[in-house]
């Protein structure tokens, strides 16, 4: 088996995540799909690290993981704040900024 199969898998997972972001309405599930996309890119980074024989890809994947954790913390805090005022976690409802 060629290690490039991992990259194909990463592409598929990224596509699934992107489709989920477009199709789901619940903000928390949208966040999970964003996480899935970040993880798919991590998988690609780690497989490229193996293909090229250096560890830079793994270090970048590590950084992506930290950024994803920070993003989840702030994102979920925003969701909780919106839920407190609007009683809903649907991304259709917060339309206060709409003209």
């Amino acid at each position: 088996m060629n290690p490039i199969n991992y990259v194909y898998l990463a592409a598929l997972l990224f596509t699934i995540g992107a489709a989920g972001v477009l199709v789901r309405r619940n903000a928390i599930v949208v966040f999970m799909c964003v996480e899935l996309m970040l993880n798919a890119s991590n998988l690609a980074f780690v497989s490229f690290a193996r293909i090229n024989g250096n560890l830079d890809g793994q270090v970048v994947a590590f950084f992506v993981m930290v950024v994803a954790a920070a993003e989840v913390v702030v994102g979920l805090a925003i969701i909780v704040t919106i839920f407190r005022t609007r009683r809903s976690a649907s991304v259709d409802d917060p339309n206060l900024l709409k003209l």
Partner: protein, 258 residues
Amino acid sequence: MSAMLLTASTSTGEAVAFWVLAPIALVAGLMIVLSRKAVHSALWMALTMIVLAVFYIMLGGVFLGVVQVVVYTGAVMMLFLFVLMLVGVDASDSFVETLRAQRAITVLLALGFGGLVIAGIGRVTFPDAVGVGAANAAAGGHVQALAELIFTRYVFPFEVISVLLITAAVGAMVLTHRERLVPRKTQRELSQDRIRGGHPTPRTTPGVYARHNAVDTPALLPDGSPAAVSVPEQLSRRGSSRAQASGESDAAIEAGDS
């Protein structure tokens, strides 16, 4: 293990593991998108994360695999579940399309995007896989090699990321902080309220003599009527009390349960 990582091509064991785990990852990924309930999505997400951690370890990123399990399935998914519990577990997504043909267009876009990316990867000629064994051996170990990279070449991004983490933590605290609008009641005021409020004894606990002992089920009075006062005030204000939800009589509550 290190000998396997040194080789360019993969072993049979790895191929078997990949072809078993890759479909699991794909199905779990699809189920995140397709599950109606957010909790199910979260559990499928946890499965995907664990499978990806195994992939990282298979690819020679042992440290990264462990970090994946600790950070993702440990911290991030638990955070997701906490927020789900806060927001309401039973809230399932409405599947009514607010934008016309949104789902069809999404499927089309996803197929187009996936096709483009996979065709792009297919056209690239990659060199033979080297494996990270040599890079590990040069630094005297896998974790040592990673540490050397993080603290030399990537030390500036590393510091920037630490600033980002602190900012995120402070931001989350600021966002979820709630100002107290009325001053906190002292113990004296609380006891005065209790004595003068007409109900000096503790209130009936919810669920006494009722069919359930859940907090949203009001206790039954001797004449069989539900005692609305036994349900916590927050629940009845939110409309989650069973007495409000399904009529006043026990029969109605019973019917609501089944």
